[in-house]
């Protein structure tokens, strides 16, 4: 990839031009989407008034590739954040300060008319720079020891389906039976990220009942409604919104039944702690009493909820690429030690912060963030697909180098909460976006440590050593 980034001498980013080719293997797979993501997802988190990109996907004699965490935008983010680091050195401005100057504001449009709603970029960067003692450490450590920073952003669910259709992006059905149990059915796949729990948390919150009354049946094509799937960090936002909509519909059904029998206006009713009560508490019902009222002479109550993205984006060609109802933001600082004799990089610390809107399940958010950073560390320092005549050489977990626990540094996790106007209870994605900043943070830390700029991933010891030698010889890096 060839990326040019222009800035004024006072550190205002003014132009970004990217030219990117992808070696995509022998089949199309996700090729089109990956190709446009690596370009369009560069138009934030910084204000850019001039922006352009060209992209190519080349068919080669290799297995086809698909989306991995942070789909398409991860490598180009590494390039842009490295360039920003470079600019900050050239104009002698702190890279944190430079980024702070250029962040997009909340509730604004990007140059390509992405609708930015909540935006925790500043809070994220401030948090990691404070926690890492950035001011006292960056540029001030001994040779071979460095600190680097990176930022990023990601879509919180693709606003447009890949296969054009009129279906809602997510649908959730709820069935309330006379025994007070609520069955949640959803097509969203829980692939370990905890989406089943997320659905239950949302329904529980709306109906004011405990999780013991909720049962989730997910991803069974015989029994559950259509959901577009667990990809593009969309499930909490979209299936979550559908669950919220369904629960609100159920709540309305119950309110109307109670209102008819007890002569209280539906909007007077509160659902909390397994009880339904009026504002003045003149009416207090248990959940079971209310359920009896709504199911009497009727049987089980079945409702549906859906989520459909609003119409977004400009009306120019390519405007649909990368549209999302909301975007997540984040920042990382990495601390490394580089052995100048061997080029080996030892990662000492990663401080990360990610704006996920409202964290509905903080423990699971923390897991997603740490998972993202760990995966990014691997991508930065060791993970690589090696080929021999089109055959994958390292097709096992001995030779494909995922960092072990010994290679994983202390990770300092910060959940930055903003309140997204459109997410369910203000929530946004946290599954992929956190990964983007960690790779450039590591590369920039290496620059801080030994003054060499690595432009290839993974950052191999032998490449670092080669660059260190070139630098010692006073040769300009190509």
């Amino acid at each position: 990839m060839n990326i040019r980034l222009g800035a004024t001498s006072d550190g205002i980013l003014s132009v970004l031009d990217a030219d990117i080719a992808i070696d995509g293997g022998a089949y199309g797979s996700f090729g089109v989407v990956t190709s446009y993501y690596n370009g369009v997802l560069l138009q934030a988190p910084y204000k850019l008034n001039n922006f352009g990109f060209k992209t190519y996907r080349v068919y080669t004699n290799k297995p086809q590739c698909g989306a991995m965490r942070g789909h398409g935008a991860v490598n180009s983010r590494f390039a842009v954040e490295s360039l920003i680091d470079d600019i900050s050195h050239q104009i002698k401005m702190d890279p944190v300060e430079l980024r702070m100057k250029n962040f997009l504001d909340p509730h604004t449009l990007t140059v390509g008319q992405y609708r930015i709603t909540s935006n925790g970029s500043r809070e994220s960067l401030m948090k990691v720079s404070e926690q890492s003692d950035w001011k006292n450490k960056h540029g001030k450590l001994t040779l071979g020891h460095g600190l680097g920073v990176g930022c990023g952003f990601f879509i919180s669910g693709s606003a447009l389906p890949i296969i054009w259709n009129e279906l809602p992006q997510s649908t959730v059905h709820l069935k309330l039976d006379f025994d007070g149990r609520v069955l949640i059915t959803s097509g969203a796949n829980d692939i370990g990220q905890g989406s089943d729990t997320m659905l239950a948390i949302i329904v529980s919150e709306v109906l004011g009942i405990g999780m013991d009354r909720l049962f989730v049946l997910a991803a069974d094509t015989l029994l559950t409604p259509v959901d577009l799937g667990s990809y593009s960090s969309r499930v909490t936002f979209m299936a979550g919104n559908a669950a919220k909509h369904a629960a609100e519909n159920l709540r309305r059904e119950i309110s109307e039944a109670v209102s008819k029998q007890k002569n209280v206006a539906p909007k007077e009713l509160n659902f909390m702690n397994g009880q339904i009560f009026s504002h003045d508490k003149s009416l207090e019902l248990t959940w079971d009493e209310a359920v009896t009222m709504v199911t009497a002479n009727r049987g089980a109550v079945t409702v549906s909820g859906k989520y459909i993205s609003p119409k977004l984006g400009g009306d120019f060609k390519g405007a649909g690429a990368g549209l999302s109802p909301s975007y997540s933001f984040g920042a990382c600082v990495a601390e490394v030690k580089v052995d100048i004799q061997t080029g080996q990089v030892k990662l000492l610390n990663v401080w990360g912060a990610h704006d996920c809107g409202k964290a509905l399940n903080p423990l699971s958010v923390e897991g997603q963030l740490e998972g993202s950073w760990h995966m990014g560390i691997g991508q930065a320092l060791s993970e690589e697909m090696k080929y021999y005549n089109g055959l994958l050489v390292n097709n096992n977990f001995l030779d494909y180098k995922i960092p072990t626990s010994l290679d994983t540094p202390e990770i300092h996790t910060n959940i930055i909460e903003t309140n997204d106007p459109e997410g369910p209870f203000g929530a946004k994605e946290c599954g992929e976006g956190a990964l983007h900043p960690v790779i450039p943070a590591i590369a920039n830390a290496i620059y801080d440590a030994v003054g060499v700029r690595v432009t290839k991933l993974p950052i191999r010891a032998e490449d670092v050593l080669e660059l260190i030698k070139l630098k010692e010889k006073g040769m300009v890096q190509a």
Partner: protein, 312 residues
């Protein structure tokens, strides 16, 4: 068609093991921890029909001192070396090297004897059956060309044991038992330098004990090059021992089909010793790191080891 019967035998003495071996030759293998052998079996590089499991042979699990030598049973687990006080005090580098091997779980299964005999490795050999079939079999698996070099004469699979370089630099001997009897030989004498048949031991030979001289006081510096801090096999191992007599022994693994040994004294020019060592290593593009990087790291590792050992 006759079904081929596979057999698993578990003797309780060396004598019984040798009897089984005689009955089932030539298609048998002794197995101890199995952490190397079974992976090779799974990948189709090991096709013996009979496994003779030595884990029941308790006589090979002890530590004893005899005639100025510490006798370490070949079946001692890598993880158990650290529990021996004498090794802790006198040979900490051996523990370090044992702990540089594999992962905690594997070290609780893998044995010291097995680690010494760990099969040579190469990017193009340690692959699944279908992978090797589609690329074309290499010299080490009955093919007619070395894929790493394009040559047809020599196999350059790497000697990758983590503990053997340290043992060799400490002048370790091994006790070998086979049908012809018992002999005690220097550990380094079993390595042939041929990647296809890296050791000259008879098929029915069992290493019973590893003998470390305890009278000759020494210091050893161990280093291993690998991308991750656990699990990975070596791309370069160095073990440098300085004896009280001022004798130096440099042993290098991971860069040749056999351990490379250079001997000298503290009065020798370190640069000259290193030059000799580098010259002996036949490195090719067949490991995680490139040939040129591994070559350069030999110098860096040895230089640093020689410095560290004299300032310790």
């Amino acid at each position: 068609m006759k079904t081929i019967e596979k057999q698993y035998l578990k003797p309780i003495s060396v004598r019984e093991a040798l009897t089984y071996a005689e009955l089932h030759q030539p298609r048998f293998r002794f197995i101890a921890g199995g952490t190397d052998l079974l992976v090779n079996k799974f990948q189709g590089n090991e096709d013996s029909l009979c496994l003779i499991d030595l884990n029941g042979v308790d006589e090979l699990k002890s530590f004893t001192i005899n005639h100025d030598y510490l006798h370490i049973g070949a079946l001692v687990k890598l993880d158990d070396l650290r529990k021996n006080q004498l090794i802790q005090n006198q040979f900490p580098a051996l523990i370090e090297s044992a702990h540089a091997a594999a992962s905690p779980m594997i070290r609780k299964t893998a044995t010291l004897g097995g680690n010494i005999l760990c099969e040579n490795r190469c990017t193009f050999y340690n692959q699944s059956e279908w992978w090797r079939d589609s690329v074309g079999y290499c010299l080490k698996c009955d093919g007619d060309v070395c894929i790493a070099t394009g040559g047809t004469k020599a196999c350059f699979s790497n000697f990758v044991s983590d503990t053997a370089p340290v043992l060799i630099s400490l002048d370790a001997l091994i006790e070998v038992i086979d049908s012809k009897g018992v002999k005690t030989i220097p550990l380094e004498s079993i390595f042939t330098g041929d990647g296809i048949h890296p050791r000259n031991l008879a098929p029915d030979a069992i290493i019973s004990f590893i003998l470390l001289p305890i009278k000759d006081k020494s210091k050893t510096i161990f280093k291993k090059l690998r991308p991750r801090e656990a699990v990975d096999f070596t791309s370069l191992t160095t073990s440098v021992t300085l004896f009280e007599s001022n004798r130096l022994k440099l042993v290098i693994g991971g860069v040749d089909p056999r351990p490379i040994i250079v001997e000298g004294t503290v009065t020798d020019d370190p640069a000259e010793l290193i030059k000799q060592a580098v010259k002996k290593c036949r490195i090719v593009e067949n490991a995680y790191y490139s040939r040129s990087y591994r070559k350069e790291m030999i110098r860096v590792f040895l230089e640093n080891s020689l410095k560290e050992i004299q300032h310790q």
